[in-house]
Amino acid sequence: MIGFIFLFRRECHRFMKVLVQTVLTPLISATLYLLVFGVSLGSQVEIHGAQYLAFLVPGLMMMGLMNNAFQNSSSSLVSSKFTGDIEDLAVVPLTRSQIIWAMSLASVVRGAMVALTTLLVGEAFYYFKYQSFIYPEHPLWLMYFILVGGLVFGQMGLMAAFWAKTFDQLSAVSTFVILPLTYLGGVFMSIESLPEIWRKLSLINPLFYFINGLRYSVLGFSDVDVTHASVLALVFLVLMHFLARRVLSRVSFSRW
């Protein structure tokens, strides 16, 4: 257990050492999204009776969470592969499960920091525009989706990093898998505004359930039933953990 705690602490300590890169940079992009889409372009738009700015905030929170959880575990492992200290993970007495959970929980911490600071920035924009705040409707669901979302994407990052043989391969996962699924998962729009075919396709996008689950937690409405989203999120977590264990038992902990 102590080994697990130390690995978790180390992973958190690692991203705290490069806070500008790990938290400030995603926060600046979220701020720009809020400014351009929420405040400027979306000022005349309402979705489910809510201002577009309020609609956008939970989407951006989940986008920041997913990206940063993925990047936390993947960049930590890839840099370890590069510097050689990945071999430490193989020779110290840590189980595969301890490695997976410690690294993915640290990913949750980073993802949650980005998500919550995005919420704070969103609150500031919302207050200046509408003189009121967005009050999260279901704080427990909010915690649930942050935790499960962070774990899923933390474990996905871990798998991608173990699989990747080069930096390019890792960035290909981000660019060709995570990014399109995020944008098509309803960060910026409700699937109700999509043509039928795209609406159906959105339903098989796993990220759609995380984004809408978080949106329900903050605003009290979403494109999908929250129970449905929460169960699917949990199924994704179990699946991801199973895959991560499998990957870790097969891959090499050798340096590049």
Partner: protein, 287 residues
């Protein structure tokens, strides 16, 4: 119980479209408590692969390794607690300073409060003044010493040193060997791979010579030298003449002198030069 037993370990690497590479072929030997065992061999002989199998970095294709009776295949957590490893290639962890690295590494072994040991190791490795630096800010030799400190942070009973002195200057190398001798005196069993055969000769109680994945010889260092090398004897006669002679294992000097028609009263001095581990090593590889 033997600290380390290598039992018929074989390791094959499969490469797509190519025949399997047999890096280690049925190697067996054991390491005794408090001994320095030198694992010697040319580049690509299979030394590092064998160390990777012991540390669980690689799974053997067949065979097993036990550390104090625990198998690396079935009880890896127990075996990992007992071993420390200094890998051949230098690690350059980028985020943490030396003290932080050693604290986290201690934590992985369940050691929450290990600062006294960490400070002792930093001091022993002459790294105390650099404890707040990150690895990238250190020279190659310092990094290697840091890796040794990391391997010892949990006071392992078996220490694997894979080329620990590559790139370390002479003074520090001697300091390191003194430390290795101290560890041996404390009962730590040490497996050492090195290309400095003279140092291996001075340090190692026993050696194993591996070539192309096969263990060619295992035995006490002194014995291998005696068995496989020839002694050079220079007989200086009272007349000033010097006669060079070669003695193999089991040869009787008296008989040789007699064969050379040399009488004891004609001999002014004898100079006997023992063979070296390097000679024995070359001989084993040529067999």
């Amino acid at each position: 119980m033997e600290p380390l037993v290598i039992d018929k370990v074989t390791k094959h690497y499969l490469r797509e479209g190519q025949p399997a590479v047999e890096a280690v072929k049925g190697v067996s030997f054991s390491v005794r408590p408090g001994e320095i065992f030198g694992l010697l061999g040319p580049n690509g002989a299979g030394k590092t692969t064998l160390i990777s199998v012991i540390t669980t970095l690689e799974k053997p294709t067949s065979g097993d390794v036990t550390i104090f009776g625990h198998s690396v295949l079935t009880e890896p957590l127990k075996t990992k607690m007992s071993i420390g490893v200094v890998p051949q290639e230098i690690v350059s962890s980028g985020f943490f300073n030396l003290e932080e690295l050693l604290q986290y590494h201690s934590g992985y072994y369940g050691l929450r409060h290990n600062l006294p040991r960490i400070r002792q190791l930093l001091d022993r490795m002459s790294l105390t003044e650099h404890k707040s630096k990150i690895m990238r800010q250190l020279s190659g030799g310092m990094r290697r010493r840091m890796m040794i400190a990391k391997a010892l942070v949990h006071s392992p009973k078996v220490l694997l040193l894979d080329e620990p002195t590559a790139g370390v200057d002479v003074a520090l190398r001697n300091q390191l060997w003194d430390f290795v001798r101290e560890l041996r005196a404390e009962g730590v069993s040490i497996v050492l791979t090195t290309h400095y055969l003279q140092e291996a000769e001075e340090l190692c109680d026993r050696v194993g010579i591996i070539n192309k994945g096969e263990l060619k010889y295992v035995g006490p260092t002194k014995e291998i030298i005696k068995d496989l090398t020839q002694r050079k004897v220079e007989v200086q006669l009272r007349s000033g003449q010097v006669i060079p002679l070669i003695m193999s294992k089991g040869d009787d000097l008296g008989v040789i002198l007699k064969l050379q028609n040399l009488k004891l009263e004609d001999i002014h001095d004898l100079n006997i030069e023992e063979g070296t581990l390097e000679d024995a090593f070359v001989k084993v590889l040529s067999l």
